[in-house]
Symmetry: C2
Subunit: 504 residues, 2 copies
């Protein structure tokens, strides 16, 4: 490589590193806001966050960035680059193109609109007042449609949105996998509804000491191999994980006095996200590739740990006695009954409270509606009717009001269309990865029953975590499992699990 090109590459790496540093500062400021920042400091804090985000954005779209990318994306140079550099260059080019294409005044309008809209949504949800939110949502959809034109329409307009959260994902692919999934899950759900063998969950309705909940969460995280020298556990209203850098990946959980399962499963969930970020390879440190490769793959790791390991019989065969030690009120409850209770399936209205099976139906509904909004001319005013019809069709229930229906999620108020699909993709990726993992590690169940979770963490590190964003989601899933995303693994997993639990 010529010396001048080498210098451009060096400068590009430094610029990316600088952007990454801004992301770390922004991440910490957000974490702090959600874990205990004094409330009177919030307005100034928000201003500081806005300033840092603007600076990071300016660097990503700067003349310097353009000049480095122009040099480094020329085919002759690109093919000489090492893998990590090439990936980072491609990633930055994609970001650059996307940001450059929208006029700044449109970006500004969007920022102002979504800020107002989130407040309007909170009120509207609280009062079940769709009409009060509808004007904001109409404007957001309109502006987002304009953005799609600027960004460039892929196969369909909605494809452009999907690609933002899951690179290379298309409507064609999602349509196919969701159709297949729906075809298998709706009948399964109906059989479960009809089953007489419903788990008893009454014993979960007790009071559980918060200090003991925290102790048990810490214990489980330690068992998973969460590195407390590279992270910490705090409390927040909504649990989350945030990777500031691979040596500082923090998680939060929420201890509910009347529900011991909430903290346990959110610790497993956020712990799964955290294992991913903690185990990214050192060679990616300081690059923009030192993060999860997509929302879907990230979610696959939280759900693999939360559901496929954490709600399994082998897991509780090993850990139930520890839980009982922390909570003597469960001492009379049999393992089998506990296991069945934490796996109860029930049609419900609220996505975030849904079980492992119906969760996917909640997502499919949202995906179909978003696609209608962006590809098929559905109007915002008709959203509640469409929403309720789909809940009736897929889950057999109808929300009594819009607050518990179409207004329940924050996503649309912030313009995050295309995001929901990632949640179910996560479930499908997880089941597909689990299938390979079981094949390659025949002692998988035995390891869990022995409380030996580290080999599982290591297998996942070797196959997934260490690559960070240096492989695309589809490269990754093919490399790990030998095939593209295949919804049958999730359907197989759920059918097997619930056939046994509900004695179908």
């Amino acid at each position: 490589m010529e010396q001048q090109t080498q210098q451009q590459l060096e400068s590009f790496r430094n610029l990316a590193r600088k952007i990454k540093s801004y992301h770390e500062a922004i991440g910490l400021l957000h974490w702090d806001l959600r874990t205990g920042a004094p409330k009177k400091g919030v307005p100034t804090r928000s201003e500081t966050l806005g300033m840092l985000s603007t600076e990071a954005f300016k660097l990503q779209t700067s003349a310097d960035m353009k000049s480095y990318l122009d040099t480094l994306t020329s085919p002759a140079v690109l093919e000489q680059l090492e893998d990590i550099d090439r990936r980072q260059v491609e990633d930055c080019q994609k970001e650059y193109d996307r940001s450059q294409s929208v006029p700044p005044e449109k970006v500004q309008a969007y920022t102002v609109l979504t800020a107002k809209s989130e407040t309007a949504w909170e009120d509207a949800k609280h009062n079940s007042d769709f009409a009060g939110f509808s004007p904001y949502l109409t404007d957001i959809v309109k502006l987002k449609q304009e953005f799609i034109d600027y960004w460039g329409v892929k196969d369909t307009r909605y494809d452009t949105l999907l690609d933002m959260y899951e690179p290379e994902l298309t409507v064609e692919k999602v349509d196919a996998v969701f159709a297949r999934l729906k075809a298998r899950l709706v009948p399964l759900q109906e059989k479960i509804n009809a089953s007489a063998n419903k788990p008893n969950t009454e014993f979960l309705n007790q009071l559980f000491d918060k200090d003991q909940q925290e102790k048990f969460s810490l214990f489980i995280l330690e068992q998973m191999g969460y590195d407390f020298e590279a992270g910490r556990l705090d409390e927040s209203v909504h649990p989350f994980a945030t990777g500031l850098n691979p040596g500082d990946v923090r998680i939060t959980t929420n201890y509910l006095q009347d529900d011991v399962t909430s903290a346990v499963f959110s610790s497993l969930h956020e712990g799964g996200h955290a294992l991913y970020e903690q185990n990214i390879d050192d060679s990616l440190a300081g690059t923009l590739l030192a993060e999860g490769t997509s929302m879907g793959i990230h979610e696959s790791q939280s759900r693999l740990w939360e559901n496929m390991i954490g709600r399994s019989l082998p897991f509780w065969t090993r850990y139930y006695k520890d839980l009982q030690q922390h909570f003597p009120q469960l001492s009379e409850v049999e393992l089998e009954d506990f296991y069945r209770a934490i796996n109860r399936v029930e049609s419900s209205l609220i996505r975030i409270e849904a079980d492992e099976l119906t969760y996917n139906l909640h997502i499919i509904i949202r995906y179909e509606i978003e696609k209608m909004l962006f590809n098929e001319g559905l109007e915002v005013k008709d959203l509640p009717e469409t929403w309720n019809a789909k809940y009736k069709e897929y889950l057999g229930i109808v929300p009594p009001n819009d607050g518990m229906g179409v207004l329940q999620d924050v996503h649309w108020s912030g313009g995050d269309f295309g995001y929901f699909a990632s949640y179910s993709l996560g479930n499908m990726y997880a089941a597909q990865i689990l299938h390979t993992l079981r094949k390659e590690m025949p002692e998988f169940d035995a390891h869990i029953t022995d409380g030996n979770l580290i080999p599982i963490k290591e297998w996942l590190t070797d196959k997934i975590y260490r690559y960070g964003k240096s492989r695309t989601p589809s490269e990754l899933i093919v490399a790990v499992t030998g095939e593209e995303l295949n919804p049958d693994y999730l359907a197989d997993y759920l059918e097997a699990k619930y056939t046994e639990i509900y004695k179908l």
Copy 2:
């Protein structure tokens, strides 16, 4: 004002606001590092901190800043500015001139040198190895002497350093006040040493529950009027206060199991710093004037609360029964004995462990040595000998090794010459302010005995806190007390206090 000038003023305010936002982010990153950041994230965090500091520095010395300052400092414009704008302009001009005058390669060399030097100092202190630290210190003094030339020599070379921490302070002034102070404190100290009425402190050597220490600290902070909606209390190895913005002023303390007084007095001390920052007027929000006006005035507030209120008899007349409730092991100890114990005076080697009286002698020693280094040709190699001679002269004791002597403080390893004086200035300012406060509030002692500390906080807010950096230290002390810094108030205060305690 012309429209163009008005625009320049607007842009200047925005630039200052942006610098302030960087300071907030930097402050939070530091706070986090000292209160629980995972250790594996520290190297990357340090890089992020370095990046943000560099960006803030660049803005302060940018071409934009120069252009705004050129417009706004022209006499015709300056006299039209409102007080806050004018102060901020003057402040930024001073920073700009100081930063611009030193060539960047010298700044870089200084940064690298002090980073290495702090590590070398830690080892040297640990091993009492002055020879191991001496080469670093020699280089730092040499570079600092060069900086003084760039910054411009005031009356003497050391004046330039003093001014950095306490604007407008001069060697001439400090020489005068320290000479006066020494003349009164050294004999007082000798009389105390000779007194047969030594307080008994044996009962302080017990174990004290940490949770109770935290509860008592929170209680005292609440009594002082510390606003927990605009701050929080955490634990760290070295207690500190940090004002991110007036709505977010955090403090830390350190709970020692075998010493209940450490946490109590550090909470009062940091609480005093915090009251200052929490009560800066809203009109200064988002400006670079929204902070304490100098190290000395800041320290006056921590020491006024810690010593003059917190170690007073009225204070414990009110709060001793609360302390006893938290710590039943003190239930047999009389108030009078407790009060005398926390006010024991003793010649000792370590500054940070010194009592209210001898502390000032530790500072005078350091001030005299720094002045010799920068104004009188003292060589670094001769520091230990000079140090030990002064400890012998003023405190009657000699360090058994350099780790407990000349190597005890971190300041010089970071190049912070000129800083030490602020500590004693704080004591003197505090006593002088207290004198006025007592005069203007005759019920001062009665308020304290009643546990009614809020009027005191309000008086200090009205006279000092609300002005932030919009008044210079000397403007402030003259406005509050009617005269320039006068060391007699501190000497009077200490003589009266110890005459009674030691029955001199």
